[in-house]
């Protein structure tokens, strides 16, 4: 199986750990991810906020490149996924002129939904070497992957299941909670720290209340927000995993603590007590 891969800027920086684990997982699942030729930034929230035209045009360049390759796109980042889908819909509606040849006919998958399809789940289950028994998780989807449903195609936007299904396939204990898609504050913390912090802290509290030992995410920004705020705090730290990190861990009989060295909230201790490392 072969797909074009749109990593997005974060995977080159803040989310290197995500990028590495994606690599490992897709190799293990024998799915060929071909990075889109010379991809460029989707514009993220900034383009959307300041210039709606650019928020269509910027992702369109990548769609055009993928169309040249003739491969459906898979995107690991919630925000990129949202922007690509948005751009695709605008292209289909022919709202404005795009400087690149693009039809918008390719399928754009978010990585979680791609891996949560029943055949994929079966494949994952077969590949699991060491089930993550006893690890209590909540899955956190954030906003951009599920909302607005008209763009993301998620009909269960209040209670999405993709990460839950994948995490369950690793053998971990997945706990249902109400805050799966409650905003973490996105990039607002950079300019208005108190707003960002209040939202992120609340999510961590709610996760603790639900009895979670760790949170599973698929969005680089959510991961950084939830992870970095716990820096230097001692009360019950909650490691924040990319779902691919968990997959990678469950796919190998012996995980490597090095995989998690980029985390602020170090999960090694937790994983050791569960004899998963």
């Amino acid at each position: 199986m072969k797909l074009s891969f749109y990593p997005g800027c974060s995977l080159e920086g803040m989310a290197v750990d995500y990028a590495r684990s994606i690599d490992a997982v897709f190799k293990a699942l024998d799915i060929d991810l071909v990075e889109i030729d010379d991809w460029s930034c989707c514009g993220a929230t900034a383009a959307h906020s300041l210039s709606e035209a650019m928020s269509v045009i910027l992702p369109a360049r990548n769609l055009s490149a993928a169309e040249q390759m003739g491969l459906d796109i898979v995107s690991p980042c919630a925000n990129c996924f949202n922007r690509l889908r948005f751009s695709q819909q605008m292209i289909q509606k022919r709202v404005l002129d795009i400087p690149w040849p693009v039809t918008g006919d390719l399928k754009i998958h978010d990585m979680t939904r791609f891996l949560a399809e029943p055949p994929m789940i079966k494949k994952i289950e077969k590949r699991v070497l060491k089930p993550l028994k006893g690890l209590k998780l909540v899955c956190y989807y954030g906003c951009q992957m599920v909302r607005p449903p008209r763009i993301t195609g998620y009909t269960d936007y209040e209670n999405p299941q993709t990460l839950d299904r994948i995490s369950a396939a690793t053998g971990a204990q997945v706990i249902d909670w109400s805050y799966k898609a409650t905003c973490c504050g996105a990039s607002i913390g950079i300019a208005r720290r108190e707003i960002g912090d209040s939202l992120t802290k609340r999510l961590l509290d709610k996760a603790r209340q639900a009895g979670a030992e760790a949170i599973v995410v698929s969005c680089p920004l959510c991961q950084s927000n939830l992870d970095m705020i716990q820096k230097g705090r001692l009360e019950r730290p909650i490691p924040i995993f990319y779902f691919t990190e968990l997959l990678r861990l469950s796919f190998s009989d012996r995980g490597n603590p090095k995989w998690f060295k980029t985390h602020f909230t170090n999960p090694v201790q937790l994983l050791k007590t569960k004899s998963l490392l």
Binding site: D156, E158, N159, S178
Partner: protein
């Protein structure tokens, strides 16, 4: 509207066995037609059977409903087909042929003796759909204790034998050999002259939508589930518990408009009933547990019915129900205690507020009941985009197929009284269509002649086991031994089920064999079974009033189930008392008198004319009395409706028909000045310009109408830039040029409504304002329309027009009664000041025009008629019906009916519906040759009467009067046998037959006998 078919069939098919279908069936069967009542489930009852209590009186729903169920079950001219559905309907109005499929019940209805053994032993538990799947029932089951037919059934989807071929326990243990696993669906073919659809509605919310965590969090339930949770027959036996852990909820929240008023989910209409439903549930919750906090999240309170606002106000002020005008997007779970968290934004504190609730009730909107789409396709009926069979305003019960009529929740979401009214109207239409065939298909019961009886009492006592219901607790043999020793008891025995059909023949034989002249049955309850046994007595040639029922099930085995000994003792005492009374019973004879087959309608407006035509079109004469010089009433002034119809055209058509109808005599410039007589035989005098005309009539319909309130507020009458909605709408059409020049207008709602001196909501003004603003926007799209409202009450499908008005740019601002808008003249400029509650801004606006939405007041003649006919009115001056829920078009006084604005503010289609319904109720009297009076009536002893007038005053039915001899007289035909006057009469001059002092004292003495002994 006369039947255009030769020789129509005098039978009607009614589809749907809820309150609408039942009422319609009764209204047809009581007017001379044979009815097939078709119900897809295992029992009649529909949604109403699931309700716990009904507002505004908070009466028990079942207690109100079960007499209707018993009535319909025992009606000779109603054939009930449960587990059935129509597959095909061929033919034309007057002669339809329906193909009916009756699914297997797997328990033979004829044989089942309702002992309950099958359900008791059935090993398979199933979530109970009747209880919203909150509790469990067995695969062999009885839907609810008052089910009709009261017969068990097997759930084929879950039965172990039917699904896997194992088990078979119920067949083995059934004492009546009624279990038939090999039952096959039957196909029936029946003829009928007309069809009425009343398939009702169901909650629109399913777990699939996942709204507010329904289906995800256990403590989020729908309003219908909550109804079952409150109910004594529900899954928690009336103890308020929450599903997750059985904890008693201390804090309950309601979320309104779930799956209603939600265009995003393609449910843009309002479900009409949920606002009051929630108010009632909150009040009941507060009475269940006075410490329980109740909060209702809503956007507009739609309390548009008679007295509804008053109920909501009391819910707030007396019961302490918290109302929060704020809509919720999501419900969160607190995983630590299963509580639910609702987040709102607090404007005062400018912060988000998390509030925790033990239980969240979702006021789910309604959708057509399951399977209706198939039915409408099979019948070729055109439904609206949301699946409802909406109708036209001048034919409010007619579907797209001639001869097929509709009523109830399937027409549009509606409450019980509106359903009952519409059911009557549907019956009226069917009845008009096939009126030629009246009495051709009905069964007439023959009366047997009574045999002479011995002078000395010979009492027979029959003790019922009621399966294990009684025998499981009470020691029957012990009771029998005691009974046999009682004086005058010549025979006593016991039966497993005394009420079963076979037993009735046995009883007849026993009466004859032992020459019994008094029969006492010790069994369930006289409420449900007395009529059945009286019938059996009649069959044996014994006077039915020589019967007495001792309620040893309801009063002994059920309430003292944990103390068999005392239950047995109490049974003996109750039977002893019944025997004592039975000895003093005397045969009573019902009298009959001829009926005057003519009707009287008071009021020549829309409702009056429609009611008159409903009767006249069925071939009966009507006197129509109108006090003004022309027919048409207030509706003449209405140019167009919200939906774009012309009331004026309808009125002209009706006037044309009424004036030329051979069966209608119209009296213009006339008033009814005297009125006497009783049900079926009234007489009165009409005064027409000084001339007095005596008339006789069997029934009266009061349709005195309403009039618009004349505002005294907001400079009305002082400034010609202030108009009422009626004036505005008239001028819009009369003067289009003027309309095109308007730049800006302000509409003010609730003028003269929902005020301390007139608390009623006038129901129609919100829609009228929306209608007129849409009209203006159409003529002059640039005009700015600002509407100042308190709650927008465009209920039902009228909500679509509210949506349209917003889309067209009409601006809606809410005001509160404490801060009413100010209208004033500022040096020639008309200024309106107001505060918007949602943006918290004070506004100032300079309109060309201010339009006041004036309320509705009762018609001018209402008071005089109320006095003359001794009818009660409510504080606002509208007439008070006999029963708010189940008898909305009747007065407490028999033979007098109510229609139109005289009842309460209503829309045109609602008035038409009500008039048709009232006409049909009157037909129940008029179509009979003679009336029979009950024999259990009050009788005055002229010797003792002091003519003190107390009885005249206390009688709720206006029966007693002082006759020419100067003493009180109570016509048997007017007496309801309620017993109030005999107990009030200071001279003890009045005696209530069948409940005489003598009989009651004998009973009490017998009861006290043992108490005396104990001392």
């Amino acid at each position: 509207m006369e039947s255009y078919l030769k020789n129509p069939v005098g039978k009607v098919i009614v589809v749907g066995g809820g309150i609408g279908g039942i009422q319609c069936a009764l209204d047809l069967a009581d007017t001379g037609f044979y009815v097939y009542l078709i119900e897809k489930s295992h029992t009649l009852g529909g949604t109403m059977a699931q309700l716990d209590k009904t507002f505004p009186t908070n009466d028990c729903s079942t207690c109100m409903f079960s007499p209707k169920l018993v009535q319909v079950a025992g009606h000779a001219n109603i054939e009930i087909l449960t587990t059935s559905r129509i597959l095909e309907l061929n033919g034309d109005p007057g002669l339809f042929t329906a193909h009916i499929e009756k699914r297997a019940r797997y328990i033979n209805e004829e044989k089942c003796i309702t002992c309950g053994k099958c359900a008791e032993k059935c090993p398979k538990k199933v979530p109970d759909p009747f209880n919203g799947e909150l509790g469990m029932r067995k695969a062999a089951f009885l839907t609810f204790p008052q089910a009709v037919p009261l017969k068990y059934a097997i759930d084929a989807e879950h039965c172990l034998y039917l699904t896997k071929g194992k088990c078979g326990v119920c067949q083995k243990i059934c004492p009546a050999d009624a279990v038939e696993y090999d039952q096959k669906p039957e196909r029936l073919e029946i003829d009928a002259g007309a069809v009425v659809i009343s398939t009702g509605f169901g909650p629109a919310l399913t777990a699939k939508e996942g709204e507010f965590g329904y289906g995800r969090y256990q403590n989020v339930v729908t309003s219908l589930q909550y109804e079952r949770m409150l109910s004594a027959t529900g899954p928690y036996e009336g103890h308020l518990k929450r599903p997750s852990d059985g904890k008693i909820p201390q804090n309950v929240a309601w979320i309104q408009c779930v799956m209603s008023r939600d265009p995003a989910r393609n449910r843009p209409f309002c479900s009409s009933v949920c606002c009051m439903h929630a108010a009632k549930q909150a009040v009941l919750t507060r009475t269940h547990g006075p410490d329980t906090q109740t909060t209702i999240y809503f956007m507009d309170i739609r309390a548009h019915g008679k007295g509804f606002d008053d109920f909501v106000d009391r819910a707030r002020s007396i019961h302490g129900v918290r109302y929060r005008r704020s809509m919720i997007s999501q419900v969160y779970l607190n995983p630590e205690n299963d509580n639910l968290i609702i987040e709102t934004f607090d404007h005062h504190l400018n912060r988000k507020k998390e509030e925790e609730y033990d239980l969240v009730v979702l006021s789910s909107g309604f959708k057509p009941s399951d399977g209706f789409i198939d039915l409408s396709k099979q019948l070729g009926l055109v439904a609206n985009p949301y699946g409802f069979l909406t109708t036209e305003f001048d034919e409010p019960v007619s579907t797209s197929r001639p001869g097929v009529f509709v009523c109830g929740g399937i027409e549009s979401p509606k409450d019980i009284p509106e359903t009952v009214i519409q059911a009557g109207a549907a019956a009226a239409e069917a009845s008009i269509l096939i009126s030629e065939a009246r009495h051709t298909e009905t069964v007439v019961e023959e009366t047997l002649e009574e045999k002479p009886i011995d002078a000395a009492p010979r009492v027979g006592v029959l003790v019922c086991h009621c399966g294990t219901n009684i025998a499981g607790v009470v020691d029957i043999q012990n009771v029998l031994e005691d009974v046999k020793r009682l004086p005058h008891v010549v025979f006593a025995t016991d039966f497993i089920f005394t009420c079963s059909t076979e037993t009735q023949q046995t009883i007849v034989d026993l009466i004859k064999k032992h020459r019994l002249n008094r029969v006492v049955v010790a069994a369930c309850s006289p409420k449900t079974h007395e009529p059945l046994f009286q019938e059996t007595l009649r069959d044996a040639g014994l006077n039915p009033y020589l019967f007495e029922l001792a309620s040893i099930r309801d009063q002994c085995s059920w309430v003292h189930g944990n103390n068999p000994e005392k239950a047995t003792q109490k049974s003996k005492e109750l039977i002893r008392a019944s025997v004592a009374r039975s000895i003093r019973l005397e045969p009573l004879y019902e009298k009959s008198y001829p009926v005057v087959n003519e009707g009287l309608v008071i009021g020549g407006g829309l409702a009056g004319m429609t009611a008159a035509l409903t009767i006249a079109d069925q071939g009966f004469h009507v006197h129509l009395v109108e006090k003004s010089d022309g027919l048409g009433g207030f509706a003449k002034n209405l140019k167009f409706t919200l939906e774009g119809h012309s009331p004026l055209r309808l009125i002209r058509y009706l006037i044309e028909r009424v004036t030329h109808h051979p069966n209608i005599s119209v009296y213009l410039n006339s008033t009814l000045v005297s009125h006497g007589g009783h049900l079926g035989a009234f007489n009165g005098t009409v005064e027409k310009k000084g001339e007095r005309i005596d008339i006789q009539y069997g029934a009266v319909i009061v349709a005195t109408g309403g009039r618009p309130y004349e505002p005294k507020e907001y400079l009305y009458g002082q400034d010609d830039r202030i108009l009422t909605q009626v004036e505005f709408s008239k001028r819009l059409l009369d003067d289009p040029l003027w309309a095109r020049q308007l730049k800006r207008i302000v509409m003010i709602q609730c003028v003269g409504s929902r005020e301390p001196d007139f608390p009623y909501c006038s129901r129609v003004c919100c829609s009228a304002a929306v209608k007129n603003s849409l009209q203006l926007k159409e003529m002059n799209p640039g005009a700015q329309v600002v509407m100042l409202y308190r709650d927008v009450r465009t209920f039902g499908f009228k909500e679509l027009y509210y949506f349209k008005a917003r889309q067209k740019g009409v601006l809606f601002f809410r005001y509160i009664p404490e801060e009413k808008p100010l209208v004033y003249d500022d040096s020639g400029k008309l200024i309106v000041d107001f505060t918007d509650r949602s943006s918290h801004q004070d506004f100032c606006i300079e309109p060309d025009l201010v339009v006041l939405s004036e309320g509705i007041r009762p018609g001018e003649g209402a008071q005089q008629i109320a006095r003359l006919l001794k009818l009660s009115t409510v504080d606002e001056g509208f007439f008070l019906e006999a029963h708010v829920k189940l008898r909305p078009v009747e007065f407490a006084t028999s033979g007098v009916f109510l229609a139109g604005l005289a009842h309460s503010p209503r829309f045109i289609d609602e008035s038409v519906t009500m008039a048709k319904s009232a006409g049909q109720q009157a037909m129940k009297v008029l179509c009979r040759e003679k009336m029979t009076t009950s024999a259990a009536v009050a009788e005055v002893d002229a010797e003792k009467c002091a003519a003190c007038l107390i009885c005249v005053r206390v009688c709720p039915y206006g029966a007693p009067f002082i006759n020419e001899k100067g003493v009180s007289e109570i016509p048997p035909s007017a007496c309801m046998g309620c017993g109030i006057c005999p107990s009030e009469c200071p001279a003890k001059a009045i005696e209530l037959k069948h409940s005489t002092d003598d009989q009651l004292l004998a009973k009490i003495d017998a009861l006290l006998e043992s108490a005396m002994k104990d001392d």
